[in-house]
């Protein structure tokens, strides 16, 4: 189709690519694309030439060769005869375990500190301010190393020995805090249901049974609530439900635990060291506690600002409606404050996950120390190993931000 308009048949000259709004957007993008392709080509060409000069190729085959090193806490079956891929998986699980634990404790700590910082109690508010300011303004790495130094200055297991030991176990001889870590009692089952082989190891059927039971109890609890609601809508009287729900949970859980022969396996001093129970190693404790107290200070500030952001009018309106203070909190303040609190909180969880890589300073065997550390050093596959590790970290963080986006979408104010 021929363009007939005289104004548009104006002779095309090069400057129009930059000065004419019709072309400029495309020009800029074409230039950006060319630069991108050139830069990528340059990088790839360099990499290929450097690899060739070193006599290396680019392959992930090393993942299936024998790792040949031990990983101290491993949550799935692992030995030095396992493959590098499995070592990386063990490292990833260690990363996720310490991240999840630190997220839980940091949240608890942060919520308490944030709420208490708003308290009318002068001394508690001051104390929490000191906590938040001092932990926020000093690097996480320093806190991790400080906790590591603290746990190493605990008494040695030998101090627990003898008629008059220098150190004693806490909580009725159940927890031992030593310089080799903390020993905790661990649940055990006399009439165990055994293990179930699963994709990456084995699954303890006992815990599966307990989880299933808890789901069942929760469903029963929902039924009780729904029944109470029906009675209320008919008669106007709401039957009290809390004791029924409590009975359901307690009876079912205790029944199952009794049937399984539930008991605790306590740590005991045998020879030079404690045996039995669960050993939390110093590296794990340092990373876990260090990250918790550090991130807890940030979460405290998030919680505080979230609560402060709800205007007084909201609670006054709720009171005017005749809601009790507890219901005001649950039905009016919290739903609004949570909308403000949760997104930055999730990004703090993301920070915790990434900061677990600081475990390097105390020798915690996380993803970075296994795949990005020993495996790389042994196989000399820096490029592949680092790329794979970055990919895993990015996937974790994209998964967490995906959850956050879903939440944001659901919690957004429904505007007209």
């Amino acid at each position: 189709m021929a363009i007939t308009s005289g104004a548009q048949r104006q002779a095309f000259h090069l400057n129009m690519l930059f000065n004419d709004a019709r072309y400029r957007a495309r020009t800029i993008q074409v230039i950006a694309f060319c630069i991108l392709v050139l830069a990528a080509g340059w990088l790839i060409d360099n990499t290929v030439r450097n690899l060739a000069a070193l006599g290396k190729d680019f392959s992930f085959g090393f993942l299936w060769s024998t790792a040949g090193y031990d990983i101290a806490p491993h949550s799935i079956d692992y030995s030095s005869a396992s493959t590098h891929a499995r070592a990386a998986l063990v490292g990833l699980l260690n990363t996720l375990i310490v991240a999840a634990m630190a997220c839980v404790t940091a949240t608890i700590l942060g919520v308490f500190a944030g709420v208490l910082r708003l308290s009318n109690n002068w001394i508690v508010a001051r104390l929490m301010t000191v906590y938040v300011e001092s932990f926020r303004n000093i690097p996480a790495l320093l806190w991790i190393i400080v906790v590591a130094a603290m746990s190493e200055s605990m008494p040695a297991p030998s101090a627990f020995r003898g008629e008059h030991p220098q150190a004693s176990m806490l909580f009725f001889d159940s927890i031992a805090v030593t310089n080799r870590g903390i020993y905790l009692p661990v649940p055990d089952f006399a009439r165990s249901l055994g293990q179930l082989p699963a994709a990456l190891g084995s699954l303890d059927v006992n815990y599966v049974a307990i989880c299933a039971l808890l789901v069942l109890a929760f469903l029963a609890h929902r039924t009780v609530l729904r029944h109470a609601e029906r009675v209320q809508s008919v008669s106007g009287e709401r039957p009290s439900t809390w004791w029924k729900s409590l009975c359901i949970f307690v009876l079912l859980l205790f029944g199952l635990l009794y049937a399984l022969g539930f008991h605790f396996d306590y740590p005991a001093l045998k020879g030079l060291n404690f045996t039995g129970g669960l050993q939390l190693r110093n590296a794990f404790i340092a990373l876990w506690i260090g990250l918790s107290v550090y991130t807890g200070a940030f979460i405290a500030e998030i919680v505080r600002s979230g609560i402060l952001a709800i205007s007084r009018g909201q609670s006054e309106a709720a009171h005017a409606l005749g809601l009790t203070p507890a219901r005001t909190m649950r039905l009016v303040i919290l739903p609004q404050a949570l909308r403000i609190i949760i997104p930055p909180m999730i990004s703090q969880f993301l920070n915790i996950t990434k900061n677990t890589s600081l475990g390097l300073a105390v020798g915690y065997m996380d993803l970075r120390s296994t795949l990005g550390g020993i495996t790389i050093n042994q196989t000399g596959r820096e490029l592949e190993g680092m790329l794979l590790m970055m990919l895993i970290y990015v996937s974790i963080s994209l998964a967490i931000s995906g959850v956050m986006n879903v939440y944001n979408g659901r919690a957004r104010l429904k505007e007209r």
């Binding site: 930059f18 800029i28 308290s119 001394i123 508690v124 001092s134 790389i376 680092m386 996937s395």
Partner: protein, 434 residues
Amino acid sequence: MNMHNISWVRQDIVAPSPRPPGQGGVMDWVRKNLFNGWVSSLLTVASVMAIAWGVMAIAPWLGNSVWHAGSLSECRQILDGAPGACWGVIRDRWTQLLFGFYPTALYWRPMLAFVLLFAALAPILFRGLPQRALWFSAVYPGLAFWLIWGGSLWLPVSIYLGFAVATGLFSIAVRSGVGLAATAAIVGAALWWLYATPALVEIATDTAPILLVPVTSRELGGFLLSIVIGVSGIALSLPLGILLALGRRSGLPLIRMLSVTFIEFIRGVPLITLLFTASLLLNYFLPPGTSFDLILRVVIMVTLFASAYMAEVIRGGLAALPRGQYEAAGALGLDYWKAQRLVILPQALKISIPGIVNSFIGLFKDTTLVMFIGLLDPIALAAAIRANTNWQGIYWELFIFIGAVFFVFCFGMSRYSQYLEQRLRTDHRWEECA
């Protein structure tokens, strides 16, 4: 109407009565602020016990401080079994914690650079200084580089000349379009730095040798290193972050996609992995045989890392601006860059000040991670000091010193951001009522 005739109207002023007993005074304050209900009382008791426990644990240790000792065993001899802090280590090694292995005779150079830093920052941070002072801020990076690393003065001068070349080319070519002019400026400066700079430095150094004793990057350490990396990262990541934020909100799909990919990738990986990339992998990506300074690599990586976070903070500020501002700028006939520079960014940056300063603080704290790739930051130096037989087994004194210095810097920055927020508050918002 004569009020004096009305019997129920009082004729004289009532004398103020004393306040009811128990109101006001210390006891009342204590009751209201410390023992207001049983929860509050419980918290007070718990806090007092915690403080007392902390003081009891630390007071004897601090009270017996030993300042004059050359080794930990000497400290223990002086203390004779009593608990006590051995600050002798700080007295002995504080210069090392501050400067690393920088030559002792040349300490004045980083000190001078540090003092001049404040002179350079003053016109940016505070109002009421002449605009001409900004020229010193522009010259400062080159001057600080020369002072800290030494060598020929002509190297930074010739790098600055590259900027002059770029500006010159831009002003010549600007008549034939901004895009062409910018391209010409960038290419011209790059060519200048690649080809003209080495020759120029050689010639100028031969004719007029203005030299300082060169110091290698290996010798830099301690808080000097933290501040060098932190300050350059902060200064470089802000403009880069602004560009990325604008790119993420750009109408051009390719630019937006690139910005999003970059930001999400950088935010998704820990800084440590980027630092290891800088130390292990960069040699793969560069032409065979190139190698450049480790500190420079770290600064680049830290800048890229911080700029992604900065971009997200600034994007928040951009999103918070009402649409009307964009439309008004367009209605005034401003083009994209003018609208951003004169209308959008001043407001968006003001909104994002707390977030920007938080990123700065995070960046400064993250400089400690360089210990993992073999640079001597304060924490790595603490380990190095412990490796010496004199100071084997000393922890807390070093940690307290390092923590205190970091606290002073970071707390200072957060206080400054609060001051800035107050200063820039131009709207008449309701004061938050407690």
